[in-house]
Subunit: 138 residues, 2 copies
């Protein structure tokens, strides 16, 4: 048992500055972190949406996975993230259950949190992220 | 400004009982409400996932929109829901901004809450639900 809670949902967008007002002005969300993440070929922003977060991701590497997502599907939901207390223990437990992990080991994600992805085949058709985050809201 | 916060994410699944353990046993979520919703041609369950919710929806009407979603895409993310204090005021304001609404008027959704949907074309590529819910978590 991981005691996961909903941490954030993430959208892929073509232009963060163009997309932001649809969340900040329309829904009153506030930006909590914005980072260039060259290792992932993206720029990302996390907004606080009450008790959980909403992330926007735009491709910076035209050959990266997010650029391919945007080219093939257009903007849309990219992943759902659940917070866990101990990501390494969570990954070990999930692997033992036969869950198909994209990241067998955690890596550093947006905001410096440890993150790991679960394959959509093991995520009810949705790309699923685990986040080790001891803060109540992102 | 709506002061929206993330209320829940919803997945379409073929079989709720088969899907539930992936959330309840794997992530420790707890079921808060489960309802047959014949007007929508679905059965739905809401789980509490910390501060927000995770909903599972299965088609009961083989000719309904959820059955078509499942047939064409398989299980996966269906919508993201944001809570608003006054859904009628929110809908009026969004319509005034030119946001493309699926429901111009709120209707009763899972758990008896007032809900309305925004078209993916106005939801950053994602079907978006507004929920009038004064509870902190579903």
């Amino acid at each position: 048992m991981i005691e996961g809670h909903l941490h954030h949902v993430a959208y892929v967008v073509a232009d963060i500055d163009e997309a932001l007002p649809s969340f900040t002005e329309r829904y009153g969300m506030t930006v909590s972190v914005r980072e260039m993440m060259p290792a992932q070929g993206v720029e990302a922003v996390m907004m606080s949406a009450g008790p959980a977060g909403v992330e926007l991701i735009r491709p910076t590497d035209p050959d990266g996975a997010i650029a391919r997502f945007l080219a093939s599907r257009g903007p849309g939901l990219h992943h759902v993230a659940y917070a866990v207390d101990d990501i390494q223990a969570a990954l070990t437990g999930l692997a033992h259950e036969g869950v198909e992990l994209i990241d067998a080991e955690p890596r550093v994600g947006l905001g410096g949190h440890l993150v790991a992805f679960v394959h959509p085949r093991s995520g009810m058709g949705a790309l699923t992220e685990l986040v080790q985050d001891h803060h109540p809201a992102p």
